[in-house]
Point group: C2
Chain length 209, copies 2
């Protein structure tokens, strides 16, 4: 196929725009189909090329697979997020590494002294790591969907409690939890997703200067 | 074409992964080719479907096109970002709307009272709008590249100065500036991009629990 011939201003096939954005839905119910390590590695191998400020790449992932790990994760989720997290084939704690600057001599060799300059600036590193991890989380959600997976992103959990437990011994700070798997069309009459909510139109979000 | 037959764990054609991530580069030099309003609208019509917390959709855009608007934008950029911003066919000020909650009765009708609850919580709104605008910026960069455009994201500018000038009269706060256009292979021997920097491997960013 050619990427130049899609019948729109996009240069990718219409099916791709549907798979990743237009027909994609936040999913709360999954089939038993496993999400393999190879699938997640393949996604990372693509989305790691997305740009970040100074090539800081602060995104970190904890793949929760074991029954014991899942129990610990669920214990920190808000009530409304416990059941679906209990049943997801894979849950990913998406985190920002406060110590991303340790990698800068390798990731940004053109920025001389960046590691040393940032070492004493914890507040700046908190903001940079959180901002750029959210940016990379956007790439990650796109990449998981491009692998044919369905995702259910959640912010409803006790972040300090989760961080002190699942991220103990690291400088990682969670920014969201993603349930990942394959959605059924519906489960015993219950749809896998909530009814779709509206979006803002271009003229509501953009102005020209 | 079928989206099921790509020879990898991805469900999208390899050319798409190249266009959007693997072969995509941050670009600093552009040809004169215009970026049309229709192209940016087409991108928004796709990426607006990306998920945000509570469907808050805080991303806002200022498309800088006029010579006067460009002069004002450039005046706030760091020295190293002035020349490339001066010459980009389109620059977009990417912003987060602190007053995103005003839209929640329409965007999240299932969250009764969300607008009223958030009205008195400016600090929470600052964090939610910034986090989710960065998430949506990830979708936006993916979408612009999927439209065949090249982007140059920049964080190096005087944010308070830019906000007080270009975003005056709004509750929008800039999070980055994107130069957008079409990259030449090179310009008089000068490549349009810096040499590509490395990325972290999966085993450096992920652990399993």
């Amino acid at each position: 196929m050619s990427i130049d011939t899609a019948p729109s201003d996009l240069r990718v096939p219409s099916e791709v725009a549907d798979l990743v954005f237009r027909a994609a839905r936040t999913v709360n119910t999954f089939t038993d189909t496993e999400v393999t390590e190879e699938q997640v590695r393949a996604v990372w191998d693509v989305v790691r090329w997305g740009p970040t400020a100074m090539n800081t790449l602060p995104l970190r992932l904890v793949l929760v697979r074991t029954p014991e790990g899942r129990e610990r994760l669920v214990s920190h989720m808000n009530e409304g997020n416990k059941a679906k997290t209990q049943r997801a084939p894979l849950s990913i704690v998406v985190a920002a590494d406060l110590d991303f600057h340790e990698h800068l001599p390798r990731l940004a060799p053109h920025m001389a002294g960046a590691r040393e300059n940032l070492a004493g600036q914890q507040a700046a590193r908190e903001r940079m790591s959180r901002d750029n991890a959210f940016l990379q989380a956007g790439y990650l959600i796109v990449g998981l969907r491009a692998a044919g997976l369905h995702v259910g992103p959640m912010g409803g959990y006790d972040a300090p409690g989760l961080d002190a437990d699942l991220l103990a011994g690291t400088a990682w700070r969670s920014i969201m939890v993603l349930n990942v798997g394959t959605a059924p069309a519906d489960v015993e009459g219950v749809p896998a997703s909530h009814p779709r909510q509206g979006r803002l139109d271009f003229d509501e979000v953009a102005r020209t200067l």
